[in-house]
């Protein structure tokens, strides 16, 4: 679990750097990185849930898997906030971020509740395995932003440019 935390700590910085690097190349790539990261995060998480931890070597493997699960699952944090800022008007960013925080907070309350419901019918291991579908869906939805993000960013810039033009056109 500590290696999961270490992966998280590194993952935030890695996510920020990757997001920045990819954005400079193509502003559609950060959502892809975000999606791939979430999807790849399922693999080490699956190992963590299903390993039997009988010998010390498996604990070492599990620690490595924990590290990568922590790293990969956290990479989207800086990217998603940056994307949200880029596709919202400067005067709407507070609301945009509050909606995302709203989902975070509701999820924080609902996530364990839904999991506990699944556990009661499926048992812990099966419920945890099934819950990984959530990351798969999240990763796919994230990749879908590839098709929308450039258009939305350009639309925002167009609105801003039009506002500037309207303001500075002599009446």
């Amino acid at each position: 679990l500590l290696t999961f935390g270490a992966g998280n700590a590194l993952g935030v910085i890695v996510g920020g750097s990757i997001g920045h690097y990819l954005y400079k190349r193509d502003n559609r790539l950060p959502p892809i990185a975000m999606g791939i990261s979430i999807l790849l995060g399922c693999i080490p998480m699956w190992f963590i849930i299903n390993m039997d931890y009988k010998d010390k070597l498996q604990i070492v493997y599990a620690s490595v898997a924990m590290f990568f699960a922590g790293l990969l699952s956290i990479v989207p944090i800086p990217i998603e906030r940056a994307i949200l800022s880029n596709v919202s008007l400067p005067e709407a960013r507070g609301r945009a971020n509050s909606f995302l925080s709203l989902i975070d907070d509701i999820g924080k309350a609902l996530g364990p509740f839904l999991l506990s419901t699944m556990i009661s019918s499926l048992g812990r291991q099966k419920a945890f395995n099934c819950s990984l579908i959530g990351w798969i869906i999240g990763g796919i939805v994230s990749c879908l932003q590839y098709f929308t993000v450039r258009k939305d960013e350009d639309a925002i810039q167009k609105i801003i440019a039009e506002k500037i033009e309207q303001r500075n056109t002599p009446s």
């Binding site: 679990l1 500590l2 935390g5 998280n8 700590a9 935030v12 910085i13 920020g16 750097s17 920045h20 502003n27 959502p31 390993m51 931890y53 699952s73 956290i74 944090i77 800086p78 990217i79 998603e80 906030r81 940056a82 949200l84 800022s85 596709v87 008007l89 400067p90 005067e91 709407a92 960013r93 507070g94 609301r95 945009a96 971020n97 509050s98 909606f99 995302l100 709203l102 989902i103 975070d104 999820g107 924080k108 309350a109 364990p112 839904l114 999991l115 556990i119 945890f128 819950s131 959530g134 990351w135 869906i137 994230s142 932003q145 810039q157 801003i160 506002k163 500037i164 303001r167 500075n168």
Partner: protein
């Protein structure tokens, strides 16, 4: 007024760390609190563990939305941030003096306002502190370099690491939680569960006061379109400087005379500031105001007030919809790491946590758990 960007970021990050430190001040000392208030173990889990946590989020979630809306409507977001922090931290401070569980419930739920409100305001400010992409100043308008000079390097560095700074802001919340939990865990058994609330709230009051003096970045000032318009504004008078220098025998290269004449006429038509046409010194001063303070940007980019229509437009943006949808299913696996994984590995897989390492584990685990559960998606 504090204007240095690195200092602004440092103050916001430090405030966020302290603000989030009070989030988990109760949990390490639940038993001690329940004994003081004469509660049974069941009451401890239900009232202290359940009700207070629920009240914390029940107040925090709507305050997040309300302050998010306000941050789009109010001009001075730094002041709004200070107010949110103060509301939360006054309640945190007063937790030291509570004498029953009802008072504790009220003080903790009000503390939720500060935490719920802070992130939307911070991200709104960040969006205007940094550009979407690292702008290459050298390849940009060379004409403004005489204004930036030494500052150019700092400016470039700040721009290039904008995404990383968002990551640091995200980490600050997790770090704060870890520090708070660790502080309460170490101090609680020796000095009582109340002391950590004082130790966290008092320095945060001080920081909230400083936040009032942080310059609020100009809304939209870092947008591509606004910068393009800004550079155009800077470029035009700069060519006037060249024109006047050429008259004095200073050569900067070939410039078409007719074009300059046309430009001069255009400037006379559109420029609202007569000082641009007077002399070079005034012109440089004017440009430095544009570039460094952005005063004229208010005239350049009209900011609309928050409205239901603009909120609907925001929620109809496909990428925003996808970002919000992405979060819903993703909370399930994070529920594993934040709530069940520790117990699952210990009970179902036979891995035990050593008692003496438990506190250290909790500090680090709270960081990662909160990063997962609180921030992402």
């Amino acid at each position: 007024m504090i204007r240095k960007r690195w200092l602004i970021i440092t103050i916001y990050v430090t405030t966020l760390i302290l603000l989030y430190a009070d989030h988990n001040l109760l949990s390490p000392n639940l038993t001690q609190i329940s004994e003081e208030f004469g509660m049974t173990n069941e009451q401890r889990d239900v009232r202290l563990g359940g009700h207070i946590s629920l009240a914390f989020y029940a107040v925090g979630v709507p305050s997040s939305f309300i302050f998010g809306w306000l941050s789009d409507s109010i001009q001075h977001r730094a002041l709004l941030f200070s107010v949110a922090v103060l509301i939360g931290e006054i309640a945190c401070f007063l937790t030291f003096f509570v004498s029953n569980v009802e008072m504790l419930l009220v003080s903790r739920s009000i503390t939720g306002i500060g935490i719920g409100a802070s992130l939307p305001i911070i991200y709104s400010i960040l969006g205007d502190l940094f550009q979407a992409e690292g702008r290459n100043i050298a390849a940009g308008k060379i004409c403004i370099t005489f204004l930036i000079q030494v500052k150019e390097l700092k400016y470039l560095i700040c721009q290039q690491f904008s995404s990383t700074i968002i990551a640091i802001i995200s980490s600050a919340t997790g770090l704060g939680l870890g520090i708070g939990q660790g502080m309460a865990g170490f101090l609680g058994p020796n000095f009582g569960w109340r002391l950590p609330f004082l130790l966290v709230s008092i320095p945060t009051f001080f920081l909230a006061g400083i936040c009032c003096f942080l310059e609020d970045p100009l809304r939209g000032g870092k947008e591509r379109s606004v910068i393009a318009a800004q550079e155009q504004l800077v470029d035009e008078p700069n060519r006037m400087i060249h024109n006047e220098d050429e008259e004095k025998g200073v050569s900067y290269g070939q410039v078409d005379d007719d074009e300059i004449q046309d430009q001069s006429e255009t400037d006379e038509d559109t420029c609202t500031s007569p000082i641009i046409h007077n002399d070079i010194v005034d012109c440089k001063t004017h440009l430095s105001i544009i570039v460094e303070e952005g005063h004229t940007m208010n005239e350049l980019y009209p900011v609309e007030s928050a409205s239901i229509k603009s909120t609907c437009n925001l929620l109809l943006t496909p990428t925003v919809i996808l970002l919000l949808i992405q979060g819903a299913p993703s909370v399930l696996p994070f529920g594993i790491t934040s709530t069940f994984l520790n117990d699952y590995l210990a009970q179902d897989k036979g891995l035990q946590v050593e008692v003496r390492k438990k506190e250290t584990f909790l500090i680090l685990y709270s960081i990662e758990a909160e990063l997962c559960n609180n921030e992402i998606f």
